[in-house]
Each structure stands twice: as C-alpha cells, then as structure tokens.
C-alpha cells in the first residue's frame, strides 16, 4: 500500500524552478531516503510532503487523499517532522518542550492527562533524557537538542516521521545515536520513515529505498543498489568517488578521492 503518492509535482519560487516533474511512491512501513546535492530541491520536496508548502503544480496523495485537504491538526496526528535546525535555544525545560508534542492530541484548553504524562515519561526514559528533564533546552548541546526534537516527535505518536537532514550539525557519535533510535522506533512501532540525508553512507546503511534528486529532477529512484552506482554519484555530485562494500552490513559505501 502506498503511503505517499507523489505525481508530476513541480514547484517554482518566483521564476526559479525548484522541482520539475517529480513522481514517486512511499510505501507503508519503509525507510525512504531522499538524497541529492545542495540545491537539488530535497528540502522543498519534503516541505510539500509535510503540508507546509503547496506545490505550484502536481498532486501529493497521503493515504489516498490530497495532502492539502487535511486539517493541520489531523495531519499532526499522522506526520511528525524533525527539522534540520532542531529546537531554538529556549529557556523552556526539556520536559516542557517534549510535552508540546502532545499538542495535536489535546482537547482545547484541556491539560495533559495521565495517559499523556505516561507517554512523555516513557519517551524521556527511552531516550535517556529523564534524568535531565528539568534542564533548559538552551543549555544543551546540538546533539542533545536533536534528541529532544526526536523525543517530541515520538510523543506525537505519528504514523510517519519525516526528517530533514537530521544529522547535519552532529558529530559521528550523535549521528549514530539519533539514527539508531529512529530505526529502533521504526522497528518497534512499524512507522514509516522519510528522510533527507546529506550523507550517502548513512543513507545506504539505514534506508530501504532511495530517491536521488538532481537540479529538481528525479535522477534515479529505487532500491539501494539501483540508485547508489558510482557512475551516477560521480556525475550528479561532480566528484570522483570509489564505491566499496561495507564489510559488516554489505551495503555500498563511498570513499572520496582528493583531486
């Protein structure tokens, strides 16, 4: 079953064309990666899929209904989004920020119920944030802040998690921490993950299928081995790469060669 059915999507900012004739499907329960060089339209595509941006042309179906026809609140019960920038340096505590993830589920003016509080507590414990829950978010490192973002998304209890380059500003330790928690969540709850990734090696390790964008067009789309070919990658990214197989996970990995 298709979760997302994107067909013939085009988008322009003023006269700049950002997306051209994009069509693909995301299946229920998969980890779907969107990759491509800077300026290839990845973030714009994600914004149209999360309902933040209405594309100039084309159609995006989510559960067989146009994404634009959902109420924001109903959409928030189904889709959680982790943004690249993460959480601004607020003086709210970790617990308060994570609790905001319950917003779409709360009745107007109602407080958090016992069930809500239980959900929040479980997630905080699961992500090792329980002991520091009373710390202000502004005092956290970038990596910790991204974990708080993830916790907020988990508390939202969505069916789909969309991540926009979640690891860009993180060191390798935090990259793996975030990615492993995302995968564990995917496996335990069966949620669908759609992520924009900068890092081809991460994409290859974590995704089931990939969409490679180049200058707003779909360059290739499908299984890891069909998309991550050294000739394609060298052409699209305009740099020489060497492809090897990951010794443990047996997926393609890329090495860079200085010119």
């Amino acid at each position: 079953m298709n979760l997302f059915d994107v067909s013939q999507v085009q988008h322009h900012f003023e006269t700049n064309s950002v997306l051209e004739n994009i069509s693909f499907q995301v299946k229920v329960g998969e980890i779907f990666g969107i990759i491509g060089p800077n300026g290839s339209g990845k973030s714009t595509l994600i914004r149209t899929m999360s309902g933040l941006l209405k594309p100039s042309q084309g159609e995006i179906l989510f559960y067989n209904k146009a994404i634009g026809s959902y109420k924001k609140r109903d959409l928030a019960k189904l889709i959680a989004v982790l943004e690249q920038e993460g959480i601004p340096p607020l003086s709210f505590t970790i617990e308060e920020v994570v609790a905001m993830g319950r917003y779409p589920w709360l009745k107007p003016l109602a407080d958090l119920s016992h069930l809500d509080e239980q959900i929040i507590e479980d997630v905080l414990k699961n992500l090792n944030l329980w002991k520091i829950k009373s710390q202000a978010v502004s005092a956290l490192s970038g990596g910790q802040r991204q974990m708080v973002s993830l916790a907020r998304a988990m508390v939202q209890q969505p069916k789909v998690l969309i991540l926009d380059e979640p690891t860009t500003f993180l060191d390798i330790g935090h990259q793996m921490l975030v990615m492993d928690h995302v995968r564990e969540w995917h496996q335990s709850q069966g949620i669908t993950i759609i992520m924009v990734l900068h890092d081809l090696n991460l994409a290859s390790q974590y995704c089931d299928r990939l969409l490679l964008l180049d200058k707003g067009y779909v360059q290739s789309y499908g299984k890891i081995h069909d998309v991550l070919k050294p000739e394609t990658i060298s052409t699209v990214y305009k740099t020489e790469v060497i492809m090897i197989e990951h010794p443990v996970q047996h997926v393609p990995q890329f090495l860079l060669t200085s010119q």
């Binding site: 999360s50 309902g51 933040l52 924001k72 609140r73 109903d74 959409l75 928030a76 019960k77 889709i79 959680a80 989004v81 943004e83 920038e85 959480i87 601004p88 607020l90 003086s91 709210f92 308060e96 920020v97 905001m100 993830g101 917003y103 779409p104 709360l106 107007p108 003016l109 939202q156």
Partner: protein, 334 residues
Amino acid sequence: MTGLIALLLVSLVLSVMIGSVNLPFVLSLKILLSHLPLVDLAPSWSLAQDAIVWDLRLPRVFLAMVIGAMLSSTGVAFQGMLRNPLADPYILGVSVGAAFGAASSILFFRDLTLLGYFTTPIFAFIGALLSLWFVMSLASHHGQRDRETLILAGVVVQSLIGAAISFLIAISGQQMQQIVFWMMGSLANRTWLDVAMLTPYMLVGFVYLSLQQRDLNLISLGESAATHLGMEVEKKKIQILIAGSLLTAAAVSVVGIIGFVGLIVPHLMRLIVGPDHRILLPLSTLAGAIFLLWADTVARSIIPSREIPIGVITAFIGAPFFAYLLKKGLRRQV
C-alpha cells in the same frame, strides 16, 4: 500570583492616599471599604474626603491599573507571537496608529459619532490595525522577518503617522488640546465613565488572550515546527495581533499614548518566572497594573500641584530599557 494580587491591593490603597491632600492609610482603607456592599462603617471622615477618595482618585487608580494590564498583556502576546522580545504596541506603531484614528474621529467624524465618546475606540482600532498591517508588510521579506527590521518598520510608520497627527493638530481648532493630549498620554480628570467604557474591550481582549497561552508556548518552537504540531499559525497570528490591537486602541482612545509598558513589564516577568505563557501572561497582566498605577501616582504627585504626562514617566524608564535590550539582542547575533 497571590503575592502580586496582595501587592496590587496594597498599592491601590497607598495610591489613593497620595496626592495634593495626603490621607492616612487607615482612613483611606476605611473609606474604600465603606463603599463595598455588606460593609457598614460609621463614617469618621468628611464628605470631601470621601469625594477625594471615591470620585477623584479611585477612578484614576482603576484606570491606571486597567490600562497597565491591557498594555502589558498586549506586549506579552505580541512578543510571543512574533517571537521578538522588542515587539511592543508602542514600538510597533500600533499606539500611534490608534491615536491617529482617535484624532481623526474627533476632527472629521464628529457628526457620525452618535454615541460620541463610545465610538472613539472603534476609530482608534481601525487606525491601529492599519498601522500594524503597514508595519508588518513593510518588515516582511519573502515571508522572513528579522527583529531589527520589524523595529525599523515601526520607526518608519511612527514618524509618518506622527507627522500626520502633527498636521491634524495644525489644522484643528478647539480640539487641538485633546489631540495633543493623545500624543502625550495622561490619566488626569478621568471618571468612572472612562473605566466603564474600557471594560468591554478589556474583557474581550483578556478572555481571548487567556485562551491562547498554549499556542503562544508552541509558537516559540518556530513557525514551521508549530505548524507541524497542528497549529494554524497564520490564522492564529492574525487573531492575536487583532486582539492586541483592540486592547491597545481602547487604551489609547481613553488615555493617549503611553509607551514601553508592554516592553518593560513582560521582560522583567520573563526573567522572574520564565517563558511559560500559562504563568507569564496572567502575572504580566497583574504586574502591568501595578507598574502603571505607580507610574501614574508618581506622575500626579512628584511635583506638587503639577501633573507630569505619564508617557514621560514610562519613557524615562522604558527608553533606556529598550536601549539595553537592543544592545543585548544585537550582541547575541554577532
């Protein structure tokens, strides 16, 4: 919360005591209590003393509290919604727009105003909305708005509308006094009628804003994050800005332009109680009442038998405060 309410009540009695004729604390308290229902006190005071407390000072004290609460809660709402600690109805040009609306209603629409006095806030509201809309569209660039640009847009609109008001003053005859009064801000010679006129606007504004506390918290995550959590951000923003403009316009149409209240009070309260609007909004509303009550008490009593415009007092405190915030904000961005 209880502390602030107690402080507000004590301030009320103290402020009633102070003036050209100083009255003892106990006597003022007794006079006040004697007007409450179910309280029966044998009068140990003269009728003149009763009139000073009940007819002269108390309406003014009430008005100061109500106006302070209105301006301060507007400040909280604007700062929260626009995620800009410098957003205040005065700095964003809402107050001056309201003054212009009120002044034009007096000059040009005298005959239309059947209910006279009671329609001034409506014209002030229209003026406030127009100037806020102008500031917001001037400051937005591809949907982005940074905090200094917003302030600059406020300055531009303030000078423009300020000039328009000066023009009105120049062509006005006998109403000149009243327009000048709006520009300076004063609570002198107010009666219970003024308090009554403000009440409906105040209630509508307060009830609406008090229902938005959770959304004001949510928007601090950023507009796209709030949208992803299910908030209708654009709709909410317009509603909250309109509610704040309504409160500001009502305040301005009665007492004129009193600046900086919505800047100083919320900022200090944020330092004390933190960013949670469920606490910040009610406490800033109370603190705004106390702040303006004392500012007005100083305005009417610091120089014997002279009255300083209250806008002067709040500007003396507010402008340096604004400078400090601006400096702090700029340094953070570098």
